[in-house]
Symmetry: C2
Amino acid sequence: MNEQDIKGFFADEEDLIHDDYLFFTFWFETAEKPEHAVAELACELSTAQWKRPGIDEDYRPRHAAKVVHLEILSEARRPSFMTSFAKGDHFYRGLVRLAYPQINIGPRLPNLLTTVCGEGAFFCKAISAVKLVDIDFPASWLADFQGPRFGIEGLRGILDVYDRPIFLGVVKPNIGLDPKSFAGIAYESWIGGLDIAKDDEMLGDTTWSPLIRRCREVGRKRKEAEDLTGEKKIYLANITDEVDRLRELHDLAVREGANAVMVNAEPVGLSALRMLAKHASVPVVAHFAGIAPMTRLPYYGVSSIVLTKLQRLAGADLIIVPGFGGRMKTEEEEVLDTVDACTEPFGHCKRSLPTPGGSDWAGTLPLVSEKLRSHEFGFICGRGVFNHPMGPTAGAASLRQAWEAIVQRLPLADYAADHRELEVALEAFGGNGVSEPPKKAVAPAGAVPLVEFLSMVNR
Amino acid sequence: MNEQDIKGFFADEEDLIHDDYLFFTFWFETAEKPEHAVAELACELSTAQWKRPGIDEDYRPRHAAKVVHLEILSEARRPSFMTSFAKGDHFYRGLVRLAYPQINIGPRLPNLLTTVCGEGAFFCKAISAVKLVDIDFPASWLADFQGPRFGIEGLRGILDVYDRPIFLGVVKPNIGLDPKSFAGIAYESWIGGLDIAKDDEMLGDTTWSPLIRRCREVGRKRKEAEDLTGEKKIYLANITDEVDRLRELHDLAVREGANAVMVNAEPVGLSALRMLAKHASVPVVAHFAGIAPMTRLPYYGVSSIVLTKLQRLAGADLIIVPGFGGRMKTEEEEVLDTVDACTEPFGHCKRSLPTPGGSDWAGTLPLVSEKLRSHEFGFICGRGVFNHPMGPTAGAASLRQAWEAIVQRLPLADYAADHRELEVALEAFGGNGVSEPPKKAVAPAGAVPLVEFLSMVNR
């Protein structure tokens, strides 16, 4: 492209009709002149050839992606990663915001993904490293999506729980349990105070635990737990499977006793999640399994913020994202950004319940709630409930006790003196029990400024 | 895990019933003892907690992933990429082969993807970097999949072309053309000798080019081109869209005049591709759009070989993979491996036509055919056909002429002396016309050992 061609891929955002565009933000690296590199990126993402040979026309005003903001962050002598294709000895790294005409794709997730994750962005000659960091969706685009049907309010309504986090547990052992034993363990956790007992993301409709039998057994136990506790409970069945079975498995699961369903959003595909959410009569949960191969690196791939937004857009009522703590290999800021993606204003779309997951247990609850500065989250445990030395009932109770301590602004250790389940959890997991807790996780709640946090709690 | 626990995740491959397992190969990096790290990987990928507390049982023999091969390739003082989570000053890099019990997942793509791309592999505490490099599928697992319905033979049968590559062209401009103009351009390319005129991967069912109108216009022109040339032609319609529309769009496209359909496999999801292939009455094509965010880095993500195998398994009759040449940022060996993944023995599954794509034109055909040492491939051009200075008819003709030169063992430049379309292509694209051709691309065919290649051609 010559200088004149390049100009066709730049615009002033003020001059554009905002509702006609999507806005993509890419982090990029180039050894070329940054203005040229981002023009090439815009070109490859949209109308790479903007006229027919021999005809006087220009598709760019209508169809081209346009650079509306360009910012150089740093310069370096080496590329972010070495391949034989990253040539040069001086690299610019920066952010570019592109206005992308909605009419090129329409309100369709696979076509959006093709655009932002496809050949245009990731095979752009001038770009040596690239990461899609965000997408802004005008309300005009969101309007074609249903978004979450239940959202946070709907989920809270089903559980009749409004003033605390929702407690989820992943029944363990995750692989190998027969349905009857599985149901027994779920029951134990419910009567201890768990709201949602769920299948592990790796547990599907298997020969040794067919979904129909699991839902039947667990559904029966769910009713027993509700009767005993006087609380509403949810059994969240993982129906991750071939996409042409999802609606049928939803119907089967709900008929037999599940009252929420989960899919692993990347493995089934975001569009299949949307299809399921349109069909579902119960809350739909999206799990992060499968996102890490493209989200982990700071200089390459797709950010988890984008994928979380898309899961919300596709209709997930609760979104499990990689949470705090070393094991989840996710920077704290990224966790907080994905939580925001679940709850920030998003056209007409309801809020999804953000559920940062990863090796949590009673002792990590003060830190998680402090970081999120809210009670509007799901708190999900596996071994922290189901490998509690006193059993799942005690494991679940330890979570509720930890929350009571927070509300009473007491250090967990103090509250544990009168609460045996919490005390045993602190003993068992405080050291090396459930991976390592995040730093400060068992710091007493009184040591952190909970006043401010608690004053923010909407009751 | 203690030493005894770790032993439960190792096995001798000879002792296993091969048909009960899948075999995953991961490249990995760890700052821990490699045997411990891969045991943890196997554990997290399968039954992370292999017994219930207080019960004397062990799920590992039946459900655990087992390390059957471990090989250290190198050692380094720094991790492959710096994050706050990769701690240590001595890293081992190696390959591990895991036997994974099929009963954990069953013959389901999303459940397989959850396992190999999910929390177990990518959030394994001991592993600082990981890439899934291959999966071996025993025939017992493949048996549940249909695989390609047409395969190479079926495609060749439709086109009645057996002794040369299949020539595909991506109609350009890709975005913005109205259906009638689009059809006219496709027609021009067909009468020049193209076999398959196709939609760009970014062109879906849009307001300005509705699929129904495009298929109608192009379908009509296809019949005209067949009548004029006496050759069979294919219009390959891109039906990438929300998954609940795929079958309906297939039916619409075929009814109106398309005789093959394409989806972008990652954006719609591999399972949706499988669903479509089960339903389709015409060949199904998978495009690589969306794979790069997870395939590009040598030390992280998922290899394109795995994704290609899965596209074949899902039923793609033709697979477009990133091809040769600098612009595609793909090492030659990887291109050849993905081509092999399309054609190597794979249970009962038919061969998919490998179609390495990326800035090809007449001048790159000798190199591509020499590298592939076969005529069993699709050769796909965009601007190399549609931006030919003499128009798409000449662009398509230049491809056929290039093949004639190869068969006659003549340098392209020599053959071009009597073939104006090829001559103009060499002039226009030989320098900088269509990105850069691969090195040696316009080297005369006579300069490479074509004798051996041509003797391998099955006629």
